[in-house]
Amino acid sequence: MTLLQADQLEALRMEIRQFAQKELAPFEQDVESNNRIPEHILAQMRERGYFGLTIPKEYGGMGMGKTAFCTVEEELAKTHFAFMDIISLNNGLGSRSIVLDGNEAQKKKYLPRLASGEWISAFTLTEPNAGSDAASITTTAEKKGDVYLLNGMKHFITNAPIADVFIVIAVTDPDKGAKGGISAFIVEKDFPGISIGNVHQSMGMQGSHKSEVIFKDTPVPVQNLIGTEGKGLTVALKTVDEGRMGVAATSVGMATRLLDMAVEYATSKKFNDKPLSRYQSFEWLLADMATELYAARTILYKTAAKMDRKEDAQLEVAMCKLYGSEMVGRVVEKAMEIFGKDGCLFENVVERILRDARILRIFEGTAEIHRIIIGRKLLAGQRPL
């Protein structure tokens, strides 16, 4: 991992921001209307190496640390969520378990393809009856000779309809269950017995695809087991934990966009006979938006720096995700009040972010689960630093 200096980080931020403004912004509405990212944008993102930002250099990536990666995510989230979402899996849940626990052969085979964006990945953990309680999954991987046979059904899997490779978490030993009976596998889409079920239609997140994935006697070669058998849940939760920073960075990015738009609207549009900004009501809304945003951004980068120093930051990460995702919810509310009816119209970014931001309090661990995580750590004597 190469850590960037302050000036390099600033240069990175500017580079992404320019790219976003010039290349992505003109296509935001297109993504929203057509529910897909235009191919030429994906090609540009591949060319710029955005799919492999966090993947180590020796496997074709850029080896970015947390601070740099959060910077990219924040900047991309200021455009359309889909632009940030499409790169987040290859850089996070879709590759991290291979980076952290995979063997050399797995790294050599998969990481370069993920880093280049040639392959798109999906992280395949949640089941209809195992959401917050991920340990209760029932998809099984039964060892038969030199393969594991996968059977079961997953749902809400981001990228599943377009994925080339799935990181699948399944039960290898039902007796042990969560205590050493769950393993992680690399599953290619061409393995037999994989089908995509119902494609989910959701309130927001246009351009990002999620669906059910069904495994029926899908043979997975033993060499595609990640790490050791029975360690899958630990691997999964470790990567989920890191990935939560992405949710916090997205929250900060979306809220920044809203604040900028709200300031511009308040100064340029009139309420009765004066600009909105001349009324305390609107001025105070802006003040609250900015204050909370500043707090969320500050803990985000403070925590990212701690992770870059290789210190344990689970408590702070949970706080960043919880606070960030709830913060952007409150910022959207205030933006709605400032924009009035305009904020409700389809072509208005406020309307879109309202729908997109609502997922941030749910996926990668709900707000309630985060309060549990934080509470337990506090009671065990930890304090945020």
Binding site: D133, F156, S202, M336, E337, L354, I362
Partner: protein, 376 residues
């Protein structure tokens, strides 16, 4: 609070509830939502059961029920489904004002098709507190010339009648209320406006360009000098308050039902104290909001309610609905974000109705101005 209802009110409430439970079909709702279609068939059935036009005088084909009665109906419709409920509740927007103040001809022209579920009114009324509104008039002999553009009008493209509030062009004189058929020269209705929610209710912008209507389309003050526009505003406040209340109750029903069903960690999620406390907090707010809307409605029936208390009741129901739909969605976890679960559209519909009514700040200004009065 239901024990405070009269026998007749309990009956009306039950009729509306049975209708909504029996007639609203979840698959059909999703289908109509996707096609952005107004629920014509359901409206007809509602009309047959006398659930529309409840407050209109018997002479106008109505039931002569009170505001409180109609609040109960609106609440039940929006409770069963926000999108369907809102579409039905907006279908006769403002018609009760026509029924009360209109000439016999006006009443007949509007009510006959409306009561059969064959027609819909579109109300062009400035946001509360917006003076003057977007539409203005000039009077020449026995015609009125209308000009202006209203940026959002509910159901304009499917309506047969416009009920329009207009302000004098030169600022001299009173605002007036007009009822006229839509197919007149000089009226342009825009394409459907795409929006956050209320997927069965159409929004369009409407432009009047030297539209000429006769002075006979005016709906005027009654013999006691009561201004129909005032009554229209009051009725809208209580009606939208009832919509919010209904959507809040509906979201609560969904949340409670799901929390008692869904299992995680080998327990019903309602067994986790964090969730059960949310349920209790939601219920507490619901009772507050209901008390506020019901007492405003009863005061309406006694003709002793001021605009301040009506706005306060509506705002209280709106805040309640925003809070409850948000929490209800959260209690659903991932499925709450998916369109096949109704809580998803309850959440959008509340926000959408909220913006339709204008900014909170405008309504708060109206309240505070009345409370504070002139400062010297």
């Amino acid at each position: 609070m239901t024990c405070l209802l009269t026998e007749e009110q309990t009956f009306i409430q039950k009729a509306a509830r049975d209708f909504a439970r029996g007639e609203f079909d979840d698959d059909q709702i999703l289908d109509l939502m996707e096609k952005q279609q107004f629920p014509k068939k359901t409206l007809k059935t509602a009309c047959k059961l006398d659930l529309i036009g409840l407050t209109w005088p018997e002479s106008a084909g109505g039931q002569e029920c009170g505001i409180m009665d109609s609040v109960l109906v609106t609440e039940e419709l929006c409770r069963r489904d926000s999108t369907m409920g809102l579409a039905l509740s907006f279908a006769d927007a403002g018609a009760e004002t026509v029924a009360r103040f209109g000439t016999p001809e006006q009443i007949k022209a509007l009510n006959a098709p409306l009561l059969k579920g064959k027609s819909v009114t579109a109300l062009i009324c400035p946001e509360l507190g917006q003076e003057p509104g977007p539409i203005c008039y000039r009077k020449t002999d026995d015609t009125l010339v209308l000009n202006g553009e209203a940026s959002v009008v509910v159901n304009a493209d499917i309506a047969d009648f416009f009920l329009t509030v207009a302000h004098p062009e030169d600022g001299q004189g009173e605002r007036i209320l007009l009822l006229f058929p839509k197919d007149m020269p000089g009226i342009a209705v825009s394409e459907l406006i795409k929006k956050l929610g209320m997927d069965m209710t159409h929004w369009n912008s409407v432009k009047f360009e030297s539209t000429r209507v006769s002075t006979g389309t005016m709906i005027t003050c009654d013999t006691k000098g009561v201004d129909p526009v005032n009554i229209l505003e009051k009725n809208l406040l209580i009606k939208t308050g009832a919509m919010f209340l209904g959507m809040a109750q509906g979201a609560f029903d969904l949340a409670l039902g799901y929390a008692k069903e869904r299992e995680q960690f080998r327990r019903k999620i309602a067994a986790f104290q964090g969730i059960s406390q949310k349920i209790a907090a939601m219920y507490t707010r619901l009772q507050e909001g209901r008390a506020s809307v019901y007492s405003a409605a009863r005061a309406c029936d006694k003709k002793c309610v001021g605009l301040t208390d009506l706005i306060a009741a509506q705002l209280s129901a709106q805040h309640l609905a925003e809070y409850l739909t948000d929490e209800a969605l959260q209690i659903h976890g991932g499925v709450g974000y998916m369109i096949e679960f109704p809580v998803e559209h309850f959440f959008r519909d509340v926000k959408c109705l909220r913006t339709l009514l204008g900014r909170n700040i405008t309504r708060m200004d109206l309240i505070s101005r009345r409370l504070i009065g002139q400062l010297n």
